[in-house]
Every structure is written in C-alpha cells, then in structure tokens.
C-alpha cells in the first residue's frame, strides 16, 4: 500500500483499537506489520536474530506511541519502516565502531564484495552485494525493489526528497549490477 494513495489506513484504525484495550487489534496489527519489518531488517542486517530484535524494538515503540497516535499524520506502516530503518542503521554503525557523525560513504564497487561472492548461491550473492552498498542506497533498494514501496513513501522513510531517492536507487542499482556481474554463472544468468 503506497504512502500517498489516499486509501484508508487500516493499520491506524487497529492502532486506535489497541490503545482502547483491544488485544485482538494488536494481533491483527502484528500480523500485518511483522513480515514487512522482518524482511527489511534481515535484508539490511543480514542476520536473523538481529533482525528479530529490531522488529521487537520497533513494535514496542509503536505500542508506546499508540495513545498519542494522530491519524492522518503518517501511515503506520511508513512510521514503522522509518523506526526499523533507523534501528538498523544504528546497529550497522555500532558494528563499525564509529561515532554516528563520522561515517564516510564507501565506494560503490569494493573488491572485497566480489571476493565474497565466489561460490555463493543466488540469494546469498544478492545479500552479499547488498551488504556492500552504503546504508541509504541499501535501504532505498530494499524498500523499492523487495518491499515494493513507492518513491514518495521511501522519501518519507529516509527523510529525503523524492529526487534524492531516485539518485540513491540509481547508484544502488549500479553498485549491485557491478558487484554481481562476475557471478552470472552462480546466479543462473547467461551472458549474451
């Protein structure tokens, strides 16, 4: 469901019901949001356990936000994506052991990525290539091409303009295409 498609936000209605003490609404909302948050977090972090922790933390933030939720301010799914994306970014930066403001954007094509791709299967190869992208390019690629979100919604999640999203997607695609080119055989692709 796109961010700005004007349709009713069923998630927001469920969140209001949750805030009024409806346990069934919580279960329904979890069934709707958990798969998409888990998918995003696992693609971003490449680690199932960490991805589950991110989902748990993001949902806890949502429950705590429920009594003050203002319908129409933002879609619940977009808000949840944004929280999960920030949590993933925090974890990725902690892995590097660098302060939050001192992160330099790496080059798109890194030799180490190609080395890691040797012998990898199709999905593992894609994951390794994704891991080689800068965080925001990775987020944009995952949200657009794997989660199927619209560019305006991605712009909201990343807090950038739609034009910036288009740029991130273009650079991310180039990075993936370059990193994966030597894996055509492993990927089941034939060179023309």
């Amino acid at each position: 469901m796109a961010f700005d498609d004007g349709s009713t936000d069923e998630d927001a209605a469920l969140l209001v019901r949750y805030a009024s003490g409806d346990h069934e609404a919580a279960r329904l909302l979890l069934a709707r949001l958990t798969p998409m948050l888990l998918s995003l977090a696992q693609r971003m972090l490449g680690d199932r356990a960490e991805a589950e922790d991110v989902v748990q933390e993001a949902m806890l933030k949502l429950w705590r936000q429920a009594p003050d939720w203002q319908p129409g301010r933002a879609r619940v799914s977009t808000w949840a994506y944004r929280v999960a994306a920030n949590l993933c970014t925090d974890r990725l930066r902690r892995r590097l052991g660098q302060p939050l403001d001192g992160i330099a954007e790496p080059e798109d094509d890194r030799p180490s990525v190609e080395a890691q791709l040797m012998g990898a299967d199709r999905q593992t190869a894609l994951q390794v290539a994704l891991d080689g992208l800068p965080e925001r390019q990775r987020l944009a690629i995952v949200l657009r091409h794997i989660e199927g979100r619209s560019n305006p919604e991605i712009a909201t999640v990343l807090d950038v303009s739609v034009e910036a999203v288009e740029s991130l997607l273009a650079r991310g695609r180039r990075g993936l295409a370059s990193a994966l080119v030597h894996q055509r055989g492993a990927l089941g692709l034939t060179e023309d």
């Binding site: 209001v16 949750y18 346990h23 888990l38 949902m59 429950w63 894609l126 794997i146 080119v181």
Partner: protein
Amino acid sequence: MDRKDMLSDAELDALLHAASQDRPEPGPDLMARLVADATDAMPDRPVAAAPRRANGRSSAFAGFAAFIGGWRGAAALTACAVAGLWIGFTDPAAFDTYNLLQTEEEGLGLGLVSVSGLELLAEGS
C-alpha cells in the same frame, strides 16, 4: 544499460524480483514475544474510543439527564419540583419554615419527601 562490466537492468530486476518473492516468515517464538510485548505495553487506562450515538441522533433530555447525574438525579429533581408545587398550592401560612420543621416529626410527609429527594440527588451526583 548494456555493459559487459555490469549486469543488465533486466538481469538485476530478475534477481530483485526473485528476492521479493523470498521474504522471511516470522516464527512462532518471535510472534509470541511480540504479543507479550503488546500486552505489557497496553495502556493501563485505555484511551476511550469516540462514543457512539444511539440512532445517530442526540437527545436533549438525555443530555440534560446526564448533566444532573443520570436517572437518579432526574428522579430527585422531579420529586423536589412536585414538593415545591404542592407547597405553592397549599396555604403558605400552614407551612412556614418554623411549622414545617415542627410538623416533620409528626408525619406530615413533606420532610420525608424532601429528605428522600436530597438523598437521591446526592447519590446521582
């Protein structure tokens, strides 16, 4: 894009499409943790949903009754009004304040009505 040093757009799109069809499923353990969190975080004093109106119309009497404390308040107010009318139509000389207090114990009933009305009003408030 058709370069030998990169996958083509079609090749990349095929890979990404396959990935979009291969999303992780949340396991029962994770869902159990999430449900427990939702229960723990549920507000102690739930935010009440907007009240629904019966038949979609508001009732002036219902609003007034609610204002004075519900049906108990309405009953008490009615009793007081009847007592006032009764006093008004009766010879005022026989029910001056002094006599009223004196005759209350003799079972005239006016004091009983008034006290009952006040009790009902207090309960309804």
